[in-house]
């Protein structure tokens, strides 16, 4: 089918995803049975569709992404046995136990129709609750005792993103449009997922319930960016005024100097 291999020019199509992890503190009984006495947490790292499924206790995952994702590879810390784990079936997620935070390499492979190479992204495995006391770069985060950490409930660390296909093949475009993503709810009663770029939301993220990505989050961020721009523009106006004054002064001095010569 030669026609199917034709690229549709001038079209970009994206799919909203989230990637990240959820972590819970192991109970004493679980610690004994998991086989590694030093492991303190159970965590699940995943790549999911952005919207939450109704009445589900997972973040995201309303849609099955296997129509365009063939495989997700999670590369764990080298201390894990066979650290490279391939997940070829949905859900594209992996559960493990452990005691430390580290960077997970996530590689997303697309179905053959897409004609695209895999993309790699990085996620810092988050085990300990978010706090506002930010650690300085390069220092170890403060680790709360398992008991106090357990009180916060599961720890969530998720990043929203969009996978963008440019000029897709006709066949792939048809495949994608056969699976429209579940739109994000405009608002939600559920807590907002925490993000380091918006630390002010910490309180909001601590509400009970499953964190959920919403359209409101996008709008809020858009507003924050616009407000910031307004501030910068005000500042710019101020400095333009200063510049005009200074230039005037410079001119005055130049004239003064010329007059003396």
């Amino acid at each position: 089918m030669a026609e199917a291999r034709v690229r549709v020019r001038g079209v970009t199509i994206h799919r909203p995803i989230i990637y990240g992890n959820t972590a819970t503190v192991l109970t004493a009984a679980e610690r004994e049975t998991c086989g590694f006495p030093d492991h303190t947490h159970r965590w699940t790292v995943a790549v999911r569709s952005a919207a939450n499924a109704p009445d589900s206790d997972t973040v995201g995952g309303a849609d099955d992404l296997s129509y365009f994702i063939k495989r997700v590879t999670f590369k764990l810390h080298d201390t894990y046995s066979n650290p490279t784990r391939n997940i070829d079936k949905p859900p594209f997620e992996l559960s493990e136990t452990g005691w430390g935070e580290f960077e997970i390499h996530i590689r997303i492979h697309f179905v053959a129709e897409s004609g695209e190479k895999p993309v790699t992204l990085y996620h810092h495995l988050k085990l300990h609750p978010w706090s506002l006391t930010f650690q300085a770069l390069g220092t170890e985060p403060e680790i709360p005792s398992p008991e106090s950490a357990a009180k916060f409930g599961p720890v969530h660390s998720w990043q929203y993103d969009e996978i963008v296909f440019t000029d897709p093949f006709q066949s792939f475009l048809t495949l994608l449009t056969a699976h429209p993503p579940t739109p994000l709810p405009r608002t939600s009663k559920n807590p907002t997922p925490f993000h380091t770029s918006y630390p002010a939301s910490l309180e909001e993220t601590r509400k009970p319930g499953v964190p959920e990505f919403t359209g409101a989050m996008e709008r809020d961020e858009g507003e924050r960016l616009e407000e910031a721009k307004e501030k910068i523009i005000k500042e710019q106006e101020k400095w333009k005024g200063i510049l005009l004054e200074r230039e005037k002064e410079l001119e005055r001095l130049q004239k003064l100097l010329a007059a003396k010569d």
Partner: protein, 416 residues
């Protein structure tokens, strides 16, 4: 932005603004103000404005003069002001205020001359036009026959396409068709007049689409743009990526300053919570604005540096012969050592005391060792280029004093 709003500045520095931007030999400031007021009063209805225009002792103004002055001022103001929208909307706005006096005059003359044609002239033109059409028709007919002949004789070897499209028959020569034709050509002949009318929105980059299609695209997260003229090959194809991979980043040279400026107002630009297309675009525009702000600050610093140099020179002039005053000029020159305004005060004071002290000690020695010093002239360009080096030199002991040479230039002296 309201058309008249542009011109109605309430800026405290109106005077300065006027003298730096809007100075014009033909126009006094008073008359410009009068023009903007009357333009506002009559809501840019130029014929009314021209009719009522009565400026005391002013030279007579044609309507084009008024428009030209008004629109050129507006353009200058738009260019000079910080712009809250993106570049596209700025140039769009600038386009709205485009006005070409000469062209406008030419256009009016042309219309006038069209209007003044006599009956005979009109008849002659039409006759000529019909003649031209006939010639073209003959030419086409001839070519068609020739092609057909070739095709019959040579077949595929003739290299001719199979079908020759014949767009016009003799019917188009009816008087009705002629009239239409004529209108069309007339429109083409007139130079396109620059639009002074606010057009509807920015030039559409999206393909026009129905509301239904828009809903469909939104549902499937499709974004359509005009495909580029050149065909994308395998190498130029934009591969699949995450939206956040293409987050805008500030230029490396000013990145720390941008990050700092944004951190002050609580924005992290390296990551977004929701990196959607809209938010990425907003971030990009925020970064552009911030870059512009930092550029402005840089210019201010340069100008301040120039002022310092000039002050020092002026101070020197006054004190020539009177040694007692030299110290004062030294003080003036190093009042502010900061290059970007963000150097902390402590460093500044340190630098000052250091340089003053060293000036004294340096002056004693200058007769002996001046030739072993490296001389650096303070040119803004040089200053910019070697900012870092200068920093280092301050740490390593930079000694400043005024060296009066034949050209009366201030130097920085560095012990080597």
């Amino acid at each position: 932005m309201d058309a008249t709003e542009v011109g109605r500045t309430t800026d405290v520095s109106t005077e300065i603004l006027y003298s730096t931007l809007l100075e014009d030999n033909e126009w006094s400031k008073e008359e410009t103000d009068y023009l903007f007021n009357i333009a506002h009063d009559y809501d840019l209805r130029w014929y009314v404005i021209h009719d009522r225009y009565e400026f005391l002792d002013g030279p007579p103004r044609a309507i084009e003069d008024l428009k030209d002055r008004y629109y050129s001022c507006c353009r200058k103001l738009i260019r000079s002001r910080p712009w809250s929208g993106d570049e596209a909307s700025k140039s769009q706005l600038l386009n709205n205020y485009q006005f070409d006096k000469e062209r406008e005059k030419m256009r009016k003359n042309y219309i006038a001359s069209l209007e003044e044609r006599t009956q005979e002239e009109i008849a002659e033109e039409e006759a000529l036009f019909i003649e031209l059409k006939r010639l073209e028709q003959n030419e086409r007919k001839f070519r068609k026959e020739r092609d057909e002949l070739l095709r019959t004789l040579l077949g595929i070897d003739s290299g001719l396409p199979d079908i020759v499209a014949e767009e016009e028959g003799p019917a188009s020569l009816s008087t009705d068709g002629l009239k239409k034709k004529k209108k069309g050509t007339m429109d083409l002949d007139i130079p396109p007049t620059p639009t002074n009318v606010v057009s509807l929105g920015p030039p559409a980059t999206k393909r026009p689409q129905s509301a239904k299609a828009a809903v469909y695209d939104e549902k499937h997260c499709i974004m359509r743009v005009e495909p580029p003229v050149t065909a994308t090959t395998k190498t130029t194809h934009v591969p699949v990526h995450l939206r956040s991979f293409k987050l805008p980043i500030p230029k490396a040279t000013i990145a720390p300053k941008v990050t700092q400026a944004l951190a002050e107002i609580g924005v992290t630009h390296s990551r977004l919570v929701m990196p959607t297309r809209e938010n990425c675009a907003k971030l990009e525009s925020l970064l552009e604005t911030t870059t512009a702000l930092i550029d402005t600050k840089k210019i201010v610093d340069k100008v301040e540096q120039d002022i310092r140099v000039l002050r020092a020179r002026l101070g020197l002039r006054e004190s020539e012969g009177a040694n007692g005053d030299t110290q004062e000029s030294m003080q003036m020159m190093d009042v502010d050592e900061s290059k970007d305004g963000s150097v902390n005060k402590e460093g500044e004071i340190d630098g000052r005391s250091q340089s003053v002290v060293s000036t004294k000690s340096g002056r004693g020695r200058k007769q002996v060792r001046a030739s072993t010093y490296k001389h650096f002239c303070i040119y803004p360009d040089w200053y910019e280029a070697t900012e870092e080096r200068l920093d280092f030199q301050i740490c390593g002991g930079l000694y400043m004093y005024n060296h009066i040479t034949a050209c009366n230039t201030s130097y920085w002296l560095v012990f080597t």
